[in-house]
Amino acid sequence: MKFRMGVDIGGTFTDGVVIDSAGAIHSFKELSTPKDPSIGLYNVIRKAAAHFGRSLEAFLGELDFFAHGTTVATNTLLTGTGARTGLLLTAGFRDTLEMRRAHKENIWDLYLPIPSPLVPRYLRRGVQERIDCQGEVLQPLRAEDVVEACRLFRKEGVTAVAVCTLFSYLNDAHERAIRAIVERELPGVFVSISSEVLPQIREYERMSTTVANACVGPKLTVYLSALDRKLKGDGLRRAFYVTASNGGVMTAETAIRHASATLLSGPAAGAIGAVFFAGLLPQKNLILMDMGGTSFDVTLVSQGQVTLSTEGEIAGYRVAKPMIDIHTVGAGGGSIAWLDGGGMLRVGPASAGSDANLLLGYLNKDYFLGGEMKVNEQKAREAMERHIAAPLGLDEVQAAAGVFRVINQSMADAAKVVSVQRGHDPREYALVSAGGACSVHACMIAEEVGCRSVIVPKAASVFCALGMLESDIRLDHVRSIRTMIPGADLAAFNEAVRQVEARALAELLQEGVERERATFLRHLDVRYVGQHHEVTIPIPGGAITEAHLPGIAESFHRAHERLYTYATPENPLEVMNLRVTAVGAVDKAALTRRAPGAADPGAARKGERRAWFEQRGGFIPVPVYDRDRLAPGNRLEGPAIVEERITTVVAHPGWSLRVDEYENLVMERAE
């Protein structure tokens, strides 16, 4: 037997999905172990091995593909627990990072908070050196400045150093020299230089990305290298992959060097999962919601596609790396609820268990994690009483109902950001509810947003993990190539392409990809001469000749027209960057389909319990169904609860539920 496995480590749960050679999906869940996430990961692997009746070693040996989405980098930024980072930069420009180009995302909000800089001012040190806009050295590097800064860094316990000097993308000599000194002065410290992390013009964006890279690098390195060693030692024969923000995977080794490319590792896999689903479903417009224990991610899939952007913000920090457009807010199913100073009920990111859902009867206290995990109802009651009910003069059920409503509202607001606020009509979209806690809330969120249906995929709570099994290996490379069309120096251009692709291929082969499975996607960043921003267009493979140029120009004009309503074909073009994405294709899962049967879900009914519904004025008895026994074709009306081993689905009053041929639960609002 051969297996393929994806594991996603969330804030509360670690989810694993295994697809066997017959195409069947098996899912496994364990509590996450935030101090050392690899413990939870191993628990999931052990559980899977046991399920298939194998030893850990035998199971690892039979794994054809093992991918892992990690939130180590994301959480490090979100929770501000990155390495104590020092920043070396061109003297005189100490505050580039904190100035944020004087940009305010919402100028009308005087009180808009900005995250504190990842490196405080006293750890940002200028070094005498200067390169000009032609790449020429105006002022040589003063090595003593670096040594002196290192002295401070040592004293302050700095464990990561970012280096970003002006115009280093044109001439990296100073940055390399600085790195050599830092590595000599501070052995063992994680060093990132901007000319390697992102060799592109615009020092603020480059610096911010480099600092993020340095800041999360040490944690990611420790984590991934230890895990890599352990997995190999325990019998894993194939490469160990990590999901990247661009929706692809890369080996652990590569991920360590490109830490900032893994900042959206977990959610990106979920988005790929959603694209895969959109391929199976008749519904091609989806709003994917993934509610983990500590964060809530929303991704829009429009006509079966996600949007990829070349830069974005994570936890308020600018990161100029290709990433899937995902909106993240810091509140998930296990979020703690509290009263703020003004007496308003708030729900925040610290994980504290799903007290409210338990008290309202949505979750089964005896069947949490299929009965493997006991939930302490008494503790939940006490927490709700102490933190919410007593201060507000409510009973704990009223308090829990309040928490439930606040969570629904804030989740709905996040879903609106990617849909309504971008001008998409939510009535044309289905909510895809992935991630354990989400399906309790999904109907209420859908009502608030305006969606008419909710889809709970077969492997809802392990959606991200499933997505990983659909990811190809994708490594992005960028190189500044400035040339003109017409008048391109094709010999130089082809040589540059050859170099970048040779490097990309070498990296892919290192990743264990077979030569015949490697392909390259080539893009050029092109603009009309004089413009400041580029349009990225695909170009053909092979040597580029004069004969190709009219076609390339034409596709730029067309893209420009599509984006900005006009083209000026009489104007010459300027090529700025070459982007090469090396893709190593992996085998995709094939899901099995079951023909629909009878509508009556009676066979799956396992009992009844009291749950709270505002529309029904309080607690009412509701039927509880066992998802494993629900079959395609089954239909039922809300209110109803569907339990499976690792997740709970609540069909609220006014909603119906049916099982489709992939065993997804499809909930629809009665008109």
């Binding site: 420009f93 100035m99 004087a102 305010k104 919402n106 020092e203 939510p426 400041h532 921003h533």
Partner: protein, 588 residues
Amino acid sequence: VKGKASEFEGAHDPITLSVIYNRLLTINAEMGIAMINTSISPIFAEVHDFSCAICDWDNRIVAQIDGVPSHTASAMEAVKAVSREFRDDIHPGDVFVLNDPYLGGTHLPDVTIMKPIFYEGQLQFIGINRAHHGDVGGLEPGSYAPGARELFHEGIRIPPLRIYRGERPIQDVVNMIRINTRMPDALWVDMKAQVASCRVAEKRILELIGKYGVRKTRQTIEDIHRYAERRMRLEIGLLSDGVYAGESFLDSDGFSDAPIRIKVAITVKGEEAWVDFAGSDPQVTGFVNSPLANTATCVYVAFLTTVTTPDIPHNEGVYRPIHISAPEGSVVNPRFPAPVASCTLDTACAILEACWQALAKVLPERVPAGWNRWNGPTITGVDPRKGSFYVMFGFNGFGGAGGMPGMDGRHYIGDGIDLGGLIAPNIETNESDYPHVTEFNEFTTDSCGAGKFRGGCGAKYRIRLYDSSPTLVMFGDGKVHPPYGLFGGQPGSCNLAFVNQGREGERELKSKEAVQLKAGDTYSSYPSGGGGWGDPLERDPEAVRRDARDQIISLESALDLYGVVLEGEELAVNEQQTAALRQSRRGG
């Protein structure tokens, strides 16, 4: 606690209302992206000194989120001017242009492009793009002329004109405009980018109407205006009735050093407000006169930043409950042909400050201390690398924001009226675009006004120019009048600038003057930090320690202004001595 109307209450169909309104905002944002990505002047592509708006068939703004605040609301005056001038002679495929501040514009460099959007033969919306061009002629390159005594000295005046017919430029008009600027090519390419951004609006709006139909769309637009008006009325209704006065001063008009008074009285009664500028100084010789549309915009900005929450729609409905009056012939409502070029920065900041200080009396828990006023120059010359004329505005070296109840002001955010809407170009793109080398650009220690919540720092910024004879024009203010402090907070630093500071030929620059430079000369700028909010002795000593550690403030300031005793290399707070010192300061 401020109230907030439940979203779109009373709407005919709340979902459609929400979708169409947000769709218009998205279209508005998309117009901006098109402008950034297709224009060639860094002032648009990097700095974003333009704004886009969408007006309805009745010349009312329905959506405006993208752009600089000083363009808020005044866009309506432009479409009204076109409508007055052309009436029924407006057709599909037309594009209109204007820049005259007395005929619907702001100041001459702001060229407004308007494209009426027709659906099935009927005018439905107008896409508007107002952009600050590098040069529109006049006495000085860059079109800020401290020596101008009348509008005619400030550049080409464009009344409401048709510039495209049947989607094609009318070459006669284009040529007439081009020949009157020092950068004819850039001006025209960027005007085409403005037209393109309006076309983006047109394309998307036609899709929108196609989907929802004319009736439902128009009905929803009326609902959006009503919703905004209701929100504004609710917010004003929460203020205590009364008359609240505010006052601020401009340093000078560039001709005399006499300060210029701006006086405002805001009367709140029920759900409406009357804002009156009686008592403001008469109009002046130099270029700081503010036409009424500009003055009104500053009032709206003051309200929209403090009285309302940021999520309120910015459309015509929101302005209905605010009534503005200013004496004719005053600096806030001048008579033609008074020069006006600096009004969108200098005077606008001062008007905003006067209004904020008035509102602080009724809304002390929301209003910030003073922000920076504009300091930096225009530098123009010929780039030796390309042989072409260039105009570089001082978009690096920004000032700080004022402190606010509960929050320090942001460092390096720019002048008050722009509210952080201008984006500082990267040093790398700026040096690639203009012939200079930047020597430094970082925070100035102690420039921030002390307070329980301190102001943000301004920058120190120095460049060395290497073209043969650059011209430098200062058109700032706030060299004498610093950003105000509030409720015991101290004012921020004053603006300051030099030519060749610390070397031969050093000269302190006036806030408004033109200077001829030579290759190798340096320009140094020290824009003000923001004012402080609340008594500095109440500032958290730990925050003071952090500021001292980070050299945001000096050790002397920590002791003298904040009464915090810091010790040793670690700068630990000596709590006992700090408490005693603060006690004695308060007692004294």
